[in-house]
């Protein structure tokens, strides 16, 4: 959101439009309430500044713009190449912990996780089918689908390892 404001100021409703435009169906999930909560938080952190604008026919509205600190924040975020995706690490720890404590069967955890990821992949593929193939929404969904596929393939490797351990 901050990045979208760094381009030009906007009020809450416009910002939501921009989100939907940038993210496709994924942007539609963000409800207006969340937008105002986030804006208030960003304002407290002095990353955005809200200005009341008088309107003749409607109540005043607040237009938000990024502060210099906010723009700097976006810039460093853009340059940050860390790839935040901790799920495999955490899941790996779960398998180790499950086996060590005997609280769950690692192979059953893998089956359940794969089922869940396949369901998500199914929904993402369905959504992608209904998007225009050249649109930004489709491109983002393709990214999600590829990550899910990679995770599912990794779960297959986990299955091989852990079912081998169980048999042996």
């Amino acid at each position: 959101m901050l990045a979208l404001l760094a381009k030009e100021p906007a009020h809450g409703y416009e910002l939501r439009q921009r989100l939907v435009q940038a993210l496709g169906p994924i942007g539609e999930v963000v409800n207006p309430g969340q937008i105002y909560v986030t804006l208030a938080r960003l304002e407290r952190a002095e990353l955005v500044r809200g200005v009341q604008v008088e309107q003749s026919a409607a109540p005043d509205k607040k237009v938000y713009e990024a502060t210099p600190a906010g723009r700097e924040h976006v810039a460093s975020w853009l340059m940050d190449s860390s790839w935040t995706k901790v799920a495999p690490t955490e899941f790996h720890l779960k398998l180790v912990a499950a086996a060590a404590t005997g609280l769950a069967d690692p192979v059953a955890l893998i089956d359940a996780q794969r089922r869940e990821l396949l369901r998500r992949l199914r929904e993402v593929q369905r959504l992608a089918e209904s998007e225009p193939p050249d649109g930004d929404g489709a491109l983002l969904l393709e990214g999600s689908a590829l990550r899910l596929q990679a995770d599912i393939r990794w779960l297959e490797a986990c299955e091989q390892r852990w079912s081998g351990r169980r048999a042996g």
Binding site: V29, R114, L118, R122, E123, Q125, I152, S163
Partner: protein, 245 residues
């Protein structure tokens, strides 16, 4: 909804050193009309053997197979061949195309064998090749086609008689991402036409395209779960947002 495939206690054992290898071990399974089902599991778990038993390419050691309500485990080889020609489409990793026939001739062959007119068979074959993105290769002999193109020709041939049941073993094994997408779109069309689809696959995209997932291990189905209707769309999108953020 009527059952297209029903198995009871279906088993296939191979002789091994000492104890027999239980490739498929007591599988009870019902596939209904229009359902698409994927089978996953580690190599050697028996998933291909299960497909062969349902399609009559191997005979069960024990148990019952019925197709569209008719018991088929005791059928003669000739009766199986007739059933496969009309009612079952097979897609294998190895594509078994006739080398001397062009792509379109390979595809129309099963239609001609069941008495479809030459014109209608050619039309149907060309349509299928077109939908699979290999329409411009219709006149080529198999040895002039790439692996992925041959696989799609074999798929078109399996579908030309509009079988009630399609059995596919790694149908996208040799395909790039784009060709896999074309096959998945074709499978979606099969669902709409109420054809039943059983897919053995390692490819997450193919597995996720199905309505239902079977997981096999050591010859047994250890999990049978629905993939459709699980999550509302909003929930999936919300997870993605949390994930991409």
């Amino acid at each position: 909804m009527s059952a297209i495939v029903e198995t009871v206690g279906l088993s296939r054992f191979y002789p091994g050193d000492g104890a027999p290898v239980r490739a498929v071990d007591g599988v009870d399974l019902v596939l209904t009309e229009g359902e698409s089902v994927s089978v996953m599991g580690p190599s050697g778990c028996g998933k291909s053997t299960l497909l062969h038993l349902i399609g009559g390419l191997e005979r069960p050691t024990a148990g019952v197979v019925a197709i569209a309500g008719q018991r088929v485990d005791g059928l003669s080889e000739a009766a199986w061949a007739r059933l496969r020609r009309r009612g079952i489409g097979f897609v294998f990793q190895a594509f078994h195309l006739v080398d001397e026939l062009s792509a379109v001739e390979n595809v129309e062959l099963p239609a001609l064998l069941v008495g479809v007119s030459r014109r209608a068979a050619r039309k149907r074959a060309l349509e299928l090749l077109e939908r699979l993105g290999v329409g411009d290769r219709a006149g080529h002999l198999p040895d002039r086609l790439s692996g992925g193109q041959r696989q799609r020709v074999a798929l078109a041939r399996a579908l030309v008689n509009e079988p009630v049941l399609v059995l596919a073993d790694e149908p996208t094994g040799n395909l790039d991402s784009h060709a896999t997408g074309e096959i998945l779109r074709l499978f979606a069309g099969l669902r709409e036409a109420r054809q039943t689809l059983l897919l053995v696959t390692h490819d997450p995209r193919v597995a996720a395209s199905a309505d239902r997932l079977l997981t096999m291990r050591d010859g047994e189905i250890v999990e049978d779960t629905r993939l459709d209707g699980g999550l509302p769309r909003q929930a999936v999108l919300a997870q993605l947002v949390g994930w991409e953020a």
